[in-house]
Amino acid sequence: MTTIQHISTSRRIKDRVVQGLVYLAFALAVVPLVSVLWLVISNGLARFDMEFLTHSMNGIGARDANGGAYHAIIGTLEQVLLASLISVPIGLLTAIYLVEYGNGGRLSRSISFFVDVMTGVPSVVAGLFVFAFWILFLGFQFSGWAGALALAILMMPTVVRSAEEMLRLVPTDLREASYALGVPKWRTIVKVVLPTAFTGIVTGVMLAVARVAGETAPLLMTVFFTNSINNDPFNGPQMGLPLFVFDQAARPNDTAVDRAWTGALTLILIVMLLNLVARLIAWWRSPARGR
């Protein structure tokens, strides 16, 4: 009479080895995150002071230790805001089209496919496109607005996808109840579907904002570069916080590298804060908390 056999040693060892490798993989993935955050915080705190947050780099010599990123922070906030103003309406309406009007037709399938493909457009290509179209072809100058155009292109697919997902979660019963009361389709969407999906859409938009706020490459060829404060995003070159970090990091002086780290710290704080708030909204609203 055989009872249940022991698992042979070799099988057990193999199982253990794989388990070890899987744990190791996770550790390997977390190490760079911890290392990046640690270095950014420890190196960035040195210059994280009021002067950094309230002054620009105007008139700061190569070896000066002072100077700040005020002009870059203002630029980033304006550019990201403008990018959201462009991409959120277009993205949201596209999502509404895909969910409510598309019906799986040829147009909706090709839009859906190209939204996916658009997520893969390199950010530097988006920047080059805006440079080629807005600055070379239409003849405008470098400006914060041009940067916002490039960022909007990068935001759109993310906004569409997240909004689409949220709209699909709205129960059909709600729509049908509204139709049964004689409410036309577009008012059902505006008054019933959108309010129901609202927080989810906000979460998606904030994640999209967090994603583009850290983009440097498209700013290089659209907002260009400046050391002084320019509050007007429609006129003349601006600065962006990621661009500030890139510029300072490439300079040889330690004082500049310090400013780069503090800029990185400010940038990460902004991005992480957006991320955290977005996730909290999502978590707070999710019907089944935690998977």
Partner: protein, 326 residues
Amino acid sequence: MATNVRTRDGGSATSRPASRRSHGEGPFRFLATGAGVVLLAIMAAIAVFLVSEAIPALQANKSSFLTELTWEPNSSREFGIAALAFGTVVSSLLALAIATPVAVGVALFISHYAPRRLAAPLGYLVDLLAAVPSVVYGLWGVTFLVPLLRGPSQWLNANLGWFPLFSGEGIVGGKTMLAGSVVLAIMILPIIAAISREVFLQAPKMNEEAALALGATRWEMIRIAVLPFGRPGVISAAMLGLGRAMGETIAVALIFPATFDITFQILTPHANSIAANIANAFGEANDIGRGALIASGLVLFIITLLVNMAARMIINRRKEYGRTGA
């Protein structure tokens, strides 16, 4: 109310509301459709304007754009994509080779190994890697990773120098293709891990339980029931990661030494990529130089487009079995 019947246009048959309620339907539908068409138009416009603004520079080129190694569009007007495209492809493939095994391990950890209560927060931790801006990875790479890789680079060269990738004379480490690829690998890891995780979570529970009931160990269960199911998802995730790595700009612009040659010796200070070159050369480029950079951006756009479309087709085919979170 027999008269209050909904008509085809979604309005009511009674006279009063019909005029007020449904006259917005047409414009609203038009707006929504229009927004979708705008997205398609943007994709088309990217291709059109990159081509049209690249043509003057390509005509001024005194060398062959596809085979020339050097990049001198401003002065001698000789420039070519060969070395840059080579660097883009090799550094991205290297990043993919480093990132994919780790990402699959991370995905399995979250989906099948981690305690269930911890799985979601730990998964979020990995997602945070994607939230770190590219320029911060660049700064981290230059100041921390590049010095860190000196020792291992010299060791690889001394002990495995017979292997072409690790060969080369006078290796000191530093700003190499390897350093850039490691940073790229870290940056594409979260997307590969996230998609793979979603796919692994969708593996049929019945098969998993059947495998366990037949006495399989956890690894055997994963090998029999999870990995075969997840393979197409992991492949497409890796391809999306490849597309990301190819388009990644600022981090490698800070790390790559911006040389213009073709070598497989990833421990020598010879590395560049299309995207890094655009970031480094744009500021000082004249009209021809900018046109040349736009031409190189067009090449990058086409390569990433092909990679992404292939990845999406694999994912979409899989959707017949169940939706992926991608």
